[in-house]
Symmetry: D2
């Protein structure tokens, strides 16, 4: 039976849509934990086989999701807690027990508010690579240092280039140990907007996520591991219609290329980009 | 019979929703013309009575709408044509046969892309008031000059003040002959987004447009006439669900405060804000 | 004997130039204290008489200067210390033992980096007036609340209006108890750039500070007290030539309208604007 | 005899400083022409030998300078004339009689106004590479098309990487025929600020221009030709002191890292970046 493929960048939601349909998926393992005090739910989705990948519409890999409903509140202390939790997960994913050279990429269009998450986060980052290279570790007063570099590549309409081309070129030239890519995502449900953070080692795939892999930001294509940090900041307009009607034909062609986002998105992006850059600053300090 | 009040800032669309229902509205007069060569449709909606205002959900006044589908193309020459047409309508509305002092207000939040239309347009404006006041008309080499001033007041979450309070204060202090307010609007239909320009002398009404008039930007409240220039750049998320389903109960509370906008909104706002400021620059040259 | 009037917005420096000349000034009282641990020097200059004002080229009033050389370091903890010290002085100047309604004005041009201090600081401010007016003090969970509003008026080339006209209008309409104006200043010496914060109750005077007072932001003109917070971020180009040569004729007319500023001014402004807004957030919490 | 090395990025000025000293330079050829009607002076400085390069403090190559004093006026028609003249020179330098793939690099810090010239110019550019690659030349309705891509790499304090590393990586990956780099320059004299445009094929050299060439953007290092477009928007603070006093010791260490720029630099950068991007849009249409 054909299904309308609702667009979501969250593995969590891809799985939920199967649960709704009462379908079980082989090759996908789930693990959940809930921190009641801080109201943070952590879900680990492991897509283990190509079969699981096909079913989920997402490549093989680990997807870690933090759901923290209070992220939408302007509570600085709470954001700090989430940064610390995120930092712990990042340390483990990045392997920071050893010195690492990390290239942080701020994906998205800095001129479109809900897409500016990555560029804004890179703005707040503690950049150290040039200091260490010029003055040595001593300049930072530490015996173990990570080298942090950052780039905001822009989007194809601004550059005429695939993001992959830009990042691949910079990786080949500067040889980081790992790439961290920060990106605004599309969710299926508005209730997850700006309250959910996804970490993944499965790479970033422009377009559908399955099929043409040539321009994907993956370990295979880049030659170094990639950790993606994403926050859903928009929902595809077509998706909310489909969810309300269950009817593909109800989706007007005018909705093509349209997205849904909250009205206070500017403050939200400012806060979330800061929460993410703080997590990286803690993890790579 | 109760109707779900779909949100639209376009008088044109408020009227259409009645046509769909087969309802005739007393106190509302319509006039249409179509320029085939340039594919610009001009519709003049006159809300003449309080009865018409109540039915339409819009205050008494004239609403002039230019529908120009090709506005979404990056065709500079076409945008210039629209600027000229708009300038003609503005000259007539502003009464530029006499010297006028005009305060242009860029409404909206410059940090949220689809809401930045007004602030961007004021950025491109030829500001002359201070030059004429300091050096006389001669400084501009003309015998007849209009005095143009501009302000970007910000939104209430940024200022803690009603926009009306800010503009009223500045009007009382600087005594312009007329206020022009540029604003991003909400449309009912995505097909009108970024292709339609509405001129109106009915003022600007935060919130519903009927009811509490205390903070409305109207001739009555400001003490000087106001001309509003608006372009729909978003659609309320609830509206597209209602339009697809015809069912109020299909609208999830999560959609509250959410809007729909196209992905290329940054370029669109850049072009449209320029088209509007050019129209004002021509009209007030 | 005629003196070349070097431009400085710092009362501290105006006084120093007399010391250099070995001249004593009647009507001007000085008081200094130094916090060795934190390396912050506080100087209080009281211009008590019109004679003192004429000599100093600054209006009668109190000028409090914090010199904190380490402000140019990216040391967050130190900036926080300065914010707290500043907050203490502001509380006393604003009289926060009683509930106050405070309009904070971010002067300057947000598009010119060293002039963006005021606009940036207002961006980071906790704005509360609209919340308290709509939902009452309870909404903030406190029995004593200050009402904070904010405005970024822009500069005359952008608005065609005097800053005074805009602020006077808004003050008359919204009736705050006090105005706080944040502004980037010109220093005489590059050694004070971005390391010095001046608080003053003497108002803000476009141009020379003496002579035409019509457009000054003063208690007399606005009808409410004004506290100015300023940080020198530029030095007039003519001044550094005069200081190097002692010769007015060495100043090329090409230097007219030119200023001197450091290359890392963007990070500096980001940090300092945050330090100032934090001071206000603490003082008005 | 030792000379104080005044900093200038303009070959024109490097040469003048010799003329002042009455020194003739072997290996440097000069050619001048003047368009009286439009008041544009074009000077071609050819540094032909390493001896000439050493004397001038600039690498071997051709430096073409357009001096157009009226560039500081807000005269759109005049700016258009300069764009056309610049386009003619660019066509010849880029060899546009054949189809070319051109990567345009906007150097500098977009957050510091006088340094934002390059980033702003890339913003206004007609980017075509992705369209042609996806839809073919037909999509642009032309038989001969140039492929235009663009990148704003940021500065080392933001990225932790040398600009060379970023551009070299992207060039290796996307293989353009030629790189065009737009950059804000330092002049020796304030009279040239924002009125002079320099085109050069000699590459871009961070720091002094002689010595360490490892991170220079040159044909040799990049593997493809590079055309640099520069406009002086600042003067080193030390330079204006030296010029006023002729005395190195008059330069205070506080002036280190300080620059001089005009107060209306935001409007100036907006106009000039547009003039340059228009020249490229014409040349590559």
């Amino acid at each position: 039976m054909e299904r309308f493929q609702v667009r979501t960048d969250l593995a969590l939601e891809a799985r939920e849509s199967f649960e709704e349909d009462g379908v079980e998926i082989r090759g996908v393992a789930i693990e959940e934990s809930y921190d009641e005090e801080r109201d943070i739910r952590v879900t680990r989705v492991n897509i283990e086989t190509e079969n699981g990948a096909k079913a989920m519409g997402k490549p093989v890999g680990t997807y870690l999701t933090l759901e923290a409903p209070r992220l939408s509140d302007p509570d600085e202390g709470y954001h700090r807690e989430v940064s610390k939790q995120l930092a712990r997960e990042l340390k483990s994913l990045l392997g920071t027990e050893e010195e690492k050279s990390v290239l942080v990429v701020g994906l998205g269009n800095r001129e479109v508010t809900p897409d500016a998450l990555g560029p804004e986060a890179v703005n707040h980052l503690m950049i150290t690579r040039h200091v260490v290279r010029e003055y040595g570790k001593e300049a930072l007063g530490k015996s173990k240092v990570h080298l942090v570099s950052g780039i905001v590549p822009g989007v194809m309409a601004q550059t005429g280039m695939e993001t992959f081309e830009i990042i691949k070129g910079i990786v080949d030239e500067t040889r980081p140990d790992v790439v961290v890519a920060i990106d605004a995502l599309a969710a299926r449900s508005t209730k997850r907007l700006n309250r959910t953070i996804q970490l993944s080692d499965a790479g970033i795939h422009p377009g559908s996520g399955v099929g043409n892999h040539r321009n994907s930001l993956t370990k295979e294509n880049l030659g170094v591991p990639i950790v993606a940090i994403g926050v859903p900041t928009v929902v595809d307009a077509a998706t909310i219609i489909y969810d309300a009607t269950g009817d593909r034909d109800a989706i007007s062609p005018n909705l093509n290329g349209m997205f849904v986002t909250p009205k206070d998105i500017d403050e939200t992006i400012r806060r979330l980009s800061f929460t993410i850059s703080e997590a990286l600053n803690i993890a790579l300090a």
